[in-house]
Amino acid sequence: MKQIIDFKLVEKQGYGRSVLLQLRTGRVLPEIRPGQFVQVRVDGSPSTYLRRPISIHDVDFERNDITLLVQQIGEGTRHLAAAEVGDTINVVLPLGNGFSMPERGERCLLVGGGIGIAPLYYFAKVMGEIGIRPTLLLGGKSKSDLIRLADYERLGETFVTTEDGSLGEKGFVTMHSVWQKQSFDKIYVCGPKPMMKAVAKLAAEKDVWCEVSLENLMACGLGACLCCVEDTVDGHVCVCKEGPVFNTRRLKW
């Protein structure tokens, strides 16, 4: 069940352009699946009006904490990043459908680009809880984009690309040598659209099942306003409600 919750910011950590916000509530968190997202209200920012859709980086059901990894790309996210420990942050959650959970024994590759690595952390963690150790392929412009790399490495074998070659193999995620060395049953992708399209194409060539997480501009986050539509084989569908995760076969890419 979706809820509107006032969280307290209990911990904050900066990583260059991004900030990790750990939010706590006295209420019991609803069930939250990997790949679902939240809508965060931005208070006190005169040039913004709507909530900001943010992926869920991690969940701690014992403390009733959620963690968001927020990249400062505009006024709204800059305002969120300026919040201080102790501040109240109003969140609507959980939204969307999230990733399809794999079966035990399936070889899974999680591909993240830029801030798109954020939801893959919680996903890899939940996979670990059911006995799946995924392979992660994370890409960034530079090594500063690859936040919490050591934490990802604990959840699965992790490969890295950077466009400037400052860490891992130089180039895009689609160019990494892991594609030649390993094969997978399922590929899950989150990142910029051109990157996701490139990975989806590669997956199609290899005839591998592939899911991508979209981030179309949205207003309500609930499937009411019909602003965030993606063109699919079933026509225009709301990314916020029917996604944000889609099987690439459903998309008109």
């Binding site: 979706k2 009006y49 501009l217 306003c225 019909l226 993606e230 063109d231």
Partner: protein, 301 residues
């Protein structure tokens, strides 16, 4: 708190949710007890299915947003077969927002909706700014609105609310034409035509370049238009446009609205509609109004 808008449309309280901002009510059922609302107005529906405009359909603006959804919907028949059975037993008034691109579409759609027992009213959308040859063609002239309202009136026997466009020179004249053609009430305002540009890319932010502006930023315009229309017509006026809290809603009622609709504010606080209803009640108690109807047009000038 009861408000009687006439011809069988009685609201438990003056607060409804605006078309296109509240889905079919189901999307908000985790946040809102629909029985605490005067009514919900479901997504704009046309006789035939429409895919709407391409993405991107939304641009944020200071204290508001632009949209160019373009009436994406699955058509009246789909509504009747699939959605109506799910929502007909809600403990609130469910109004259908009906749009069209030809007179025949409006009339046929209205005839079909007339047969639905649990839909006590149509909100006739003659003011969508996002569809080519769309309803707004009817809504911006007195002859256009007279024509569509009088033809729909012939086939529709329940409460006929007509939603007016603010993109006109004199909205009071349009409202009077709707009243003369048989409207039971008018609701206003629909969105204001606007535009947003990404200067860095030198491109429009919306796929079809222009869109409809809504949100807190339009409230002063909406309030002024409600005031002008309420003085010009005898039928009830339903006010909307940027209402974000109970004080905003009270202002619209003081300006002459008999009821209000909450629109874009639902996106920022999904529970805002019921809070507005409670807040109006609290205002009435605090100011010694025995009934909410006493607020209508109570502005002292």
């Amino acid at each position: 708190m009861t408000i009687d808008l006439g011809r069988g449309l009685v609201l438990r309280n003056p607060v409804m949710t605006a078309s296109g901002t509240f889905g079919y009510g189901e999307e908000y059922s985790d946040f809102v007890d629909l029985a605490q609302l005067g009514g919900i107005i479901v997504k704009g529906t046309t006789l035939y299915p429409r895919e709407g405009n391409p993405y991107p359909r939304m641009a944020e603006t200071p204290s508001g947003m632009l949209n160019c959804v373009g009436l994406q919907n699955k058509g009246v028949q789909y509504f009747i077969d699939t959605i109506y059975p799910r929502i007909k037993d809600y403990d609130t008034n469910v109004l259908l927002n009906l749009s069209g691109s030809t007179l025949e579409d409006y009339v046929k759609g209205a005839e079909m909706v007339d047969a639905l027992d649990k839909i006590p009213a149509i909100e006739l959308n003659v003011s969508c700014p996002n569809v080519k040859q769309g309803g707004m063609a009817f809504g911006v002239t007195t002859t256009g609105i007279s024509q569509v309202v009088s033809e729909v009136r012939k086939v529709y026997h329940k409460h006929l609310m007509v939603k007016l466009s603010p993109n006109v020179t004199n909205i009071a004249e349009i409202a009077m034409a709707a009243e003369a053609a048989g409207a039971d009430s008018v609701s206003l305002i629909n969105t204001l035509m606007g535009m947003a540009i990404d200067a860095e890319q030198r491109k429009p932010k919306l796929s079809v370049i222009t869109g409809g502006l809504s949100g807190a930023c339009v409230k002063p315009v909406a309030l002024r238009m409600v005031w002008q229309v309420a003085k010009a017509v005898k039928i009830p006026v339903v006010g909307l446009g940027g209402i974000s809290n109970a004080t905003d809603a009270v202002e619209f009622m003081l300006a002459g609205a008999s009821a209000v609709e909450i629109g874009t504010a639902n996106f920022i606080d999904p529970a805002v509609s019921v809070k507005v209803a409670w807040g109006i009640n609290e205002y009435c108690e605090r100011h010694g109004f025995a009934t909410v109807a006493e607020l209508i047009g109570a502005l002292e000038v």
